[in-house]
């Protein structure tokens, strides 16, 4: 048997990234429970909001058009949150030490999780939109508006995924990461996702109007169903890009700082 060892080269950044992306995609496919949850939850929520709550919230029967953008975001947030758990798993179970002692850009392991999350969540978004159309969602958007809305959704998923990745890096354990993620997932309920903010008590309205989810939802809603956009699009983009930058830098710093001890 030939057991001689090949000599050392370093994998290029391109190969490193594609290996880690492939790994995370494999993880996503094999984690069937999480995958089913990521797709079932949006569908359940959609049915719940349109058929159970919908009649009570808006008797005109157009609630489905109002609520779909909110559901899309809620699901994107939920789907991205599993990135925190995935990253934390890697950070705490010793495999990160192996990557860190190899002559590669070890943070690519995080990039892998982020890309896999984007793929998963865009698929889930597709399912949400398909089900929405089935239950009576009637968007008025033209092709450009559709592309704009998808762009904003993409940016939102990317932003939240990096945020959850950073949380995964600093969290002491996967369950802690999942706990922190849970707190963030309340944000959509305190926004215009399910009811217009002017129906809320004024102190709550202040919070709801000035948190990142509301402009993102208003932008998607405006683009898909033609509600007035005003400045919401720019505000949404600023929020997302700002949070994305912070989350990205936070990830890099936290990743560097975290000592390689399990």
């Amino acid at each position: 048997m030939n057991t001689s060892q090949p000599s050392v080269k370093s994998a290029s950044l391109w190969v490193t990234n594609s290996v880690f992306i492939g790994r995370s995609l494999r993880h996503s496919i094999r984690n069937t429970e999480a995958l089913i949850m990521a797709i079932m939850l949006p569908v359940m929520l959609m049915l719940l909001f349109t058929f159970v709550f919908g009649g009570a919230i808006d008797t005109s029967g157009n609630y489905v058009n109002y609520v779909v953008p909110g559901i899309i975001l809620l699901c994107a947030g939920f789907g991205s949150s599993s990135t925190g758990v995935d990253v934390s798993n890697d950070m705490t179970n010793g495999i990160i030490e192996r990557f860190r002692t190899m002559p590669i850009q070890a943070i690519s392991v995080i990039t892998g999780h982020v890309v896999a999350s984007l793929v998963r969540n865009l698929l889930a978004t597709g399912v949400v939109i398909a089900v929405a159309l089935l239950v009576g969602f009637r968007p008025s958007a033209n092709v450009l508006e559709w592309l704009g809305a998808l762009g904003v959704i993409f940016l939102f998923i990317l932003t939240f995924t990096w945020l959850f990745a950073a949380i995964g890096i600093v969290a002491g354990s996967p369950s802690a990461a999942s706990g922190y993620g849970f707190i963030l997932l309340f944000l959509p309920y305190l926004s215009s996702a399910f009811v217009p903010t002017d129906t809320m008590p004024s102190w709550l309205q202040g919070i709801a109007d000035h948190q990142p989810i509301t402009p993102v939802i208003e932008t998607i809603r405006g683009l898909l169903t033609g509600t007035p956009l005003q400045q919401q699009g720019w505000i949404a983009i600023c929020w997302c890009v700002g949070i994305l930058l912070i989350a990205f830098l936070w990830s890099i710093l936290a990743f560097r700082k975290r000592a390689g001890r399990r």
Binding site: T3, P6, R26, E97, M102, P103
Partner: protein, 296 residues
């Protein structure tokens, strides 16, 4: 070729208020097997983590394969492979996928990765489980996969933190053979172990650490001759042990040692000779303060 694969001078490392390594000095000649012994918590894993760039030293100079672990991390990383104390494998992937992933990350092409993975699966007796997810593996199988992964490409220094813990006798022997084979290729192996026997069988040189310092080092023969030989114990008139000196136990060595000492010690110094066991000596080295002078 460089003379020393590992050179550590005055290494200090503290975690909070706890000093783990306190002025540790160590050199390992290139192309040899070096075993590091010490009780739990002595700092073996910490030392390996520092040598493999995972943890930063507080003070001291640390060079691996000629590279400084702080200033030339990349050089160190290109020269080493690490098998940590706990298996670092991907549970969700299969054994083969794990190997292929590390092959690719080590710069092998897809085809080379395929070939190399098969070789290693065979070498570590994992071929029957190649397509099973690692989550379903037994502890020993995980350990073997972990070791296989570390040997994907040839590195000039290989760190193995308790590599045989949890392996059955056959796997342990097989690993010993692999380690000896690596040394024959000129690779330096730095391992820790809790088994004195293993260090004895395998290592060219041994260092025992305790309280953050190297308390004994040498070839197994040197240590064993001390361990297995006689210890001369010198006591003062109040029966307090003032010195213990390891000897080979033969008349020449004992008389020479005593002659050397007789000039410097009081006339009423009591002399006794006793035989320590291997475990006794390890215990003494790593726990009792007054014995420390004995074997160093």
């Amino acid at each position: 070729m460089r003379k020393y694969a590992i050179e550590v001078k005055g290494l200090r490392k503290t975690f909070g208020s706890q000093t783990v390594l306190n002025g540790l000095d160590l050199t390992v000649p290139a192309g040899t097997i070096h075993a590091l012994l010490g009780p739990n918590g002595a700092g073996k894993t910490t030392l390996i983590n520092i040598l493999s760039t995972l943890v930063s030293p507080d003070e001291g100079s640390v060079r691996v394969a000629g590279y400084d672990v702080e200033k030339e991390k990349d050089g160190v990383k290109r020269s080493i492979s690490l098998t940590g104390q706990f298996a670092a494998v991907d549970d969700i992937l299969t054994a083969e996928e794990n190997l292929r992933m590390i092959c690719r990350l080590s710069g092998l092409s897809k085809e080379q990765s395929q070939v190399r993975s098969q070789q290693l699966l065979q070498q570590f007796d994992l071929t029957p489980s190649a397509h099973k997810r690692v989550k379903t593996f037994s502890g020993g199988m995980r350990r073997r996969l972990d070791l296989a992964i570390s040997l994907v490409t040839s590195r000039s220094v290989v760190f193995l933190d308790e590599p045989t813990t949890g392996l059955d006798t056959i796997s342990r022997r097989a690993l010993w053979d692999i380690i000896l084979g690596l040394r024959d290729q000129g690779i330096t192996i730095f391992l820790t172990t809790q088994y004195l026997e293993e260090a004895d069988q395998l290592a060219d040189t041994i260092a025992v650490i305790n309280d953050g310092r190297v308390v004994a080092s040498g070839t197994p023969a040197e240590l064993k001759s001390r361990i297995g030989g006689e210890v001369i114990e010198l006591s003062d008139s109040k029966d307090q042990v003032i010195r213990t000196i390891p000897t080979y136990g033969n008349i020449h060595d004992v008389s020479r040692t005593l002659q050397e000492l007789s000039h410097t010690l009081p006339k009423d110094t009591q002399v006794s000779i006793r035989k320590p066991s291997m475990d006794d000596v390890f215990l003494a080295l790593t726990t009792k303060q007054e014995m420390k002078g004995a074997i160093s």
